[in-house]
Symmetry: none
Subunit: 251 residues, 2 copies
DNA sequence: CTTGACCTTGCACGATATTGCACGAAAGAT
DNA sequence: ATCTTTCGTGCAATATCGTGCAAGGTCAAG
């Protein structure tokens, strides 16, 4: 591979991913890390990127911003995820439901957290594949494409054999009267089953889910221990849930 | 060879490959590197290309884009994946092993293919989550982060209950004597187990895996029905495999 | 046919670039 | 506070480059 080819590729990757890692490039292209570091140094002195320990970032933060946001999605969900991640104690076994909010949670688990994550969401498994200390247990089953989680009897059997400290449950609605609801009958049943295997159930709910209700009930509010919600002036929406005895976590 | 002929060819190659290497051209055409360098210098001053240490790149970097990807290996894998996808018949149940090559295979399954894919790779499950007609069955278990697949007793149990028409097996080496090999003992055992549950085993091997051998044996060549390999002049590498009775598929 | 101008090619040689390694320093991680 | 990873620099080996030069080859005018 030609030197200038390498440099051009580095810039492409940087634009696409918003970052490059020296070691990864070195392994991918079969050259020494020194060579990559030299390339990065020179590109940095050309002003096209910014060196950081372990690799490089785009020079202009504007480019990084886009790629970054692309990766992390909406800020609200990322925020909820961060709050949820903070609820997990070292050594715990937690079940992570599917959904983008929980992917954000997985992404923001502290790098040094030693815990076990059980999930039937392949997306979360992929996300945690690069976490250094968290053990991941995948629940298999038939892939329900709408939610991108494993479901069916195989999943139910696997879940029945596991007990967890906390279940981060995904919902499409959380209403003072109807409790937690979702849009699929079988999914509701599976969530109910998981909740039974968990010491406590935690719900991360973005603003639009509070006060909403979907077709199929999962659990009454009494079955939910903690609600993680966006902070905001409209804390009114949280009042009925607080009254129902839920522990509320906000930013 | 005439000078202008050479220059025309250089431009052609540049367009096709996205780069030229002075030494390679000199050897291919039996002229000195000096001559090639002179050609490149002149073409550069014509603005046709851009000289770099070791050869030349296209003047406009856009052209290089596709060809660049070729060399980073992902195109080769995409190609293998496409060939592999073509081996799956409607209605079949196939097991897809982990690995980037198989992710490419999953990505290139025909949009109208009705089949069932069993996998212990969450990456492949995510990839197929948006396929309209393929059913996906996820094999659960402990996530082996190095390969990003589910492993362990839970996986073995689930696999023991499934029979598939074909197993697309990932390997790190495929050698005429040692057969299919991989770098982890437990992984080798699991692959062996899956192969037992499959009517036939298919291996997609990039060029560098042919003739290579890793620490742990999975199967002898006799256990493999079909080998999908990159096409190329160095078909010599394929000879021992063909002699061993494997059905060979190339582009 | 011969001659001389012009071009192309290969070679020699010093200059410059690139690469990998070693070793101590600095930055993160535990 | 200790350990590991990453960084920077110097160094040596190798590859590539540029230039000058000589050996041919082509072609047209003489």
């Amino acid at each position: 591979m030609l030197t200038s080819e390498r440099k051009a590729l580095i810039q492409q990757i940087l634009q696409r991913d918003g970052r490059v890692v020296a070691k990864a490039l070195s392994q991918a292209w079969g050259v020494s890390e020194d060579t990559i570091r030299r390339d990065l140094r020179e590109l940095a002195s050309d002003g096209v990127l910014q060196r950081v320990h372990g690799g490089a970032l785009p020079a202009s933060p504007a480019i990084a911003d886009f790629a970054q946001r692309e990766r992390t999605g909406s800020a609200a969900k990322a925020n909820l995820g961060r709050l949820g991640a903070g609820l997990i104690r070292p050594g715990q076994i937690v079940f992570l439901d599917g959904g983008t909010t929980h992917v954000h949670l997985a992404r923001q688990l502290p790098r040094d957290l030693k815990a076990t994550v059980v999930t039937h969401s392949p997306s979360i498994a992929v996300e945690l594949a690069h976490h250094p200390t968290v053990d991941v247990e995948i629940v298999g089953g038939r892939l329900f494409k709408h939610s991108v989680v494993a479901m069916g009897s195989a999943s139910a059997e696997a879940i029945a054999r596991i007990r967890v400290d906390a279940y981060f449950m995904g919902v499409t609605g959380l209403h003072p009267d109807t409790g937690a609801t979702t849009g699929d009958h079988e999914e509701a049943a599976l969530k109910r089953l998981i909740a039974r295997q968990a010491a406590e159930t935690i719900v991360l709910a973005t603003r639009e889910k509070l006060g909403a209700a979907s077709a199929y009930g999962i659990l009454p509010l009494a079955g939910i221990a903690t609600l993680v919600a966006e902070a905001g002036r409209d804390d009114d929406r949280l009042v009925p849930f607080r009254a129902a005895g839920l522990s509320i976590v906000t930013a």
